[in-house]
């Protein structure tokens, strides 16, 4: 009798074998508290390093918006999109969340390799932890965004409520980004060097500080393609909801939901398929 048969006969199960997808997802859901607490404490730990502590969570996006406003405001001169400051801040803050989800996700497994090699838990909790940290830094930015819009537009409309589903969709989409980039970076470390350029390119093609509609006015096909760019979709939706002079379309909502759900499913499966291989690299 072989050892395998002997083990089977005695009711032993294989160690380190990947769980089926459904029980993996269930298992990860049961352990969600771990990802949340780890994100919360990591955030606290990061803030405790600076004298101004958690104020940096509001200060750094403010400074970021101020710098972009100054540079692009002057640079673009007359060709600025309407209602420029609200337009720009919405774009910059929401973009930084998606960028953060992708970048932090990319490092989530490779930065925690010691953890992966000493404890067993569904590894997908690591990109989830990275994502939750990004949500933590998004929230003060959203508050700041609302304050800025109040100052510039001096009125609140019911449309502002759309920001809630938009952000929820962005978090679901960000989950997909984080899981995909996490696994890719484990296989190809070099991506870490490429990611800054990749996110820069997306920043420039997603119309953060200029209006894509104006630039691509004479190129309908290019506009068609650009309007499926998920980053552009989420930011346009948010502008439509929040910024005066911009509107949401049904097409944008369809694209936003499709991207979020699509990437959520793809990301989960893609990450799960390499589950037993995380940690094997030295």
């Amino acid at each position: 009798m072989s050892l395998a048969e002997y083990a089977k006969q005695n009711g032993l199960s294989k160690v380190g074998a990947r769980e089926p997808l459904w029980s993996y997802v269930k298992h990860a859901w049961q352990r969600r508290d771990f990802a949340y607490v780890m994100a919360l404490y990591t955030n606290q730990a990061n803030n405790s390093r600076n004298r101004l502590g958690r104020w940096w969570m509001v200060l750094s996006p403010t400074l970021q918006a101020a710098v972009y406003g100054l540079i692009f405001g002057i640079l673009l001169g007359g060709s600025r999109p309407d209602n420029f400051i609200p337009f720009l801040i919405t774009g910059v803050f929401l973009f930084s969340f998606l960028q953060g989800a992708y970048t932090a996700g990319a490092n989530s497994v490779s930065n925690n390799i010691g953890l992966v090699r000493s404890l067993s838990f569904p590894r997908i909790l690591l990109p989830i932890n990275a994502l939750i940290q990004q949500v933590f830094s998004l929230l003060p930015q959203v508050a700041l965004l609302v304050v800025t819009l109040l100052v510039f537009q001096q009125q609140v409309t019911l449309n502002w409520l759309y920001l809630v589903p938009i952000i929820l969709l962005m978090i679901v989409f960000g989950f997909g980004l984080a899981t995909i980039s996490a696994r890719l970076t484990v296989h190809i470390q070099d991506l870490n060097k490429l990611n800054p350029f990749l996110t820069r390119v997306v920043f420039y093609v997603s119309g953060i500080f200029f209006s894509i509609e104006t630039v691509l006015k004479d190129y309908p096909l290019a506009m068609q393609i650009a309007s499926w760019n998920p980053v552009y979709v989420y930011i346009s939706l948010a502008r439509g909801a929040m910024v005066e002079g911009y509107s949401m379309t049904a097409g944008m909502w369809i694209a936003a939901v499709a991207w979020a759900l699509g990437l959520f499913v793809i990301g989960t499966i893609f990450f799960w398929r390499a589950e037993e291989r995380y940690g094997c690299e030295i």
Binding site: M1, L12, V15, F34, V37, S48, S118, L119
Partner: protein, 256 residues
């Protein structure tokens, strides 16, 4: 190797296990299946480190198994593989329950308080918040850190943080437990307490693996010893016999 036809119930079966690390000669990481990884991986020189070579054994319920061997002999690779943390190249490992490697250090954060780290470490090991809240006083007391538990862990001395790590890791019982000797740390008083706790865990756990360089603690606690050298299983049997052979081997090496 099933030869040991004892009537007991097997709890861990290690079947011809190989653990291979692939490292780029430059020290860069390599993917496990890099053969399909395109031209990049072929250009860089890939070095294989064969850490565990075709090891097989069967562990029965209630056994305390000592794992001995020199540094770099593959003990830890084998143990992390048994805990399911390290993918194996070929072969298979079967177990009646998930073997638990006693170790939680990697998840703790120096900048937050000891108490918060207890929660974080407990969650990382898979306990619920409720269970941890119920046992966090006991953990604090065991680590002897009652006055310091609200301070950030970075203010602890290395002995204090090692005590907290051990206290968190050892706070619960497990069916199959893997203990690395490195955990026995701290001052004499704490060492006595942690050794007592380890014995307790051993008694309650069905099966224990103890990785140690201390032949005394191996002889004290194990009912069976496995000696691994250069990734191969050299000897597997009664503690006295294996330790004697191992001592002879290390002794003769130093004379050489």
């Amino acid at each position: 190797m099933v030869a040991k036809s004892k009537p007991q119930k097997p709890v861990v079966v290690v079947d011809n296990v190989n653990v291979v690390y692939k490292v780029f000669a430059s020290g860069r990481k390599a993917t496990r299946r890099s053969a399909g990884g395109g031209f990049l991986s072929r250009k860089l020189q890939l070095r294989e480190v064969h850490a565990v070579k075709g090891v097989s054994f069967t562990i029965y319920e209630g056994e305390s198994v000592g794992i001995i061997g020199s540094n770099g002999s593959g003990k830890s690779s084998l143990m992390t593989a048994i805990a399911g943390l390290n993918p194996i190249e070929s072969g298979a490992i079967y177990a009646s329950a998930r073997p638990m490697l006693l170790g939680v250090g990697a998840v703790l954060l120096p900048a937050i308080s000891g108490l918060k780290n207890i929660l974080l470490g407990g969650l990382a090991m898979g306990y619920t918040r409720k269970e941890i809240n119920a046992s966090s006083d006991a953990i604090t007391k065991f680590a002897g850190l009652e006055e310091f538990i609200d301070l950030p862990m970075k203010t602890y001395s290395s002995g204090m943080s090692a005590r907290l790590r051990f206290a968190i890791a050892a706070s619960r019982d497990h069916d199959i437990l893997i203990i690395d000797e490195a955990l026995a740390v701290g001052d004499q008083e704490f060492r006595n307490r942690s050794e007592a706790r380890m014995r307790e865990m051993r008694d309650r756990a069905g099966t224990v693996f103890l990785v140690s360089h201390s032949m005394k603690s191996i002889l004290d606690t194990c009912t069976r010893v496995i000696w691994i050298e250069k990734g191969e299983l050299i000897m597997d049997g009664k503690p006295e016999k294996v330790v004697k052979a191992y001592n002879k081997h290390t002794g003769s090496n130093t004379v050489d």
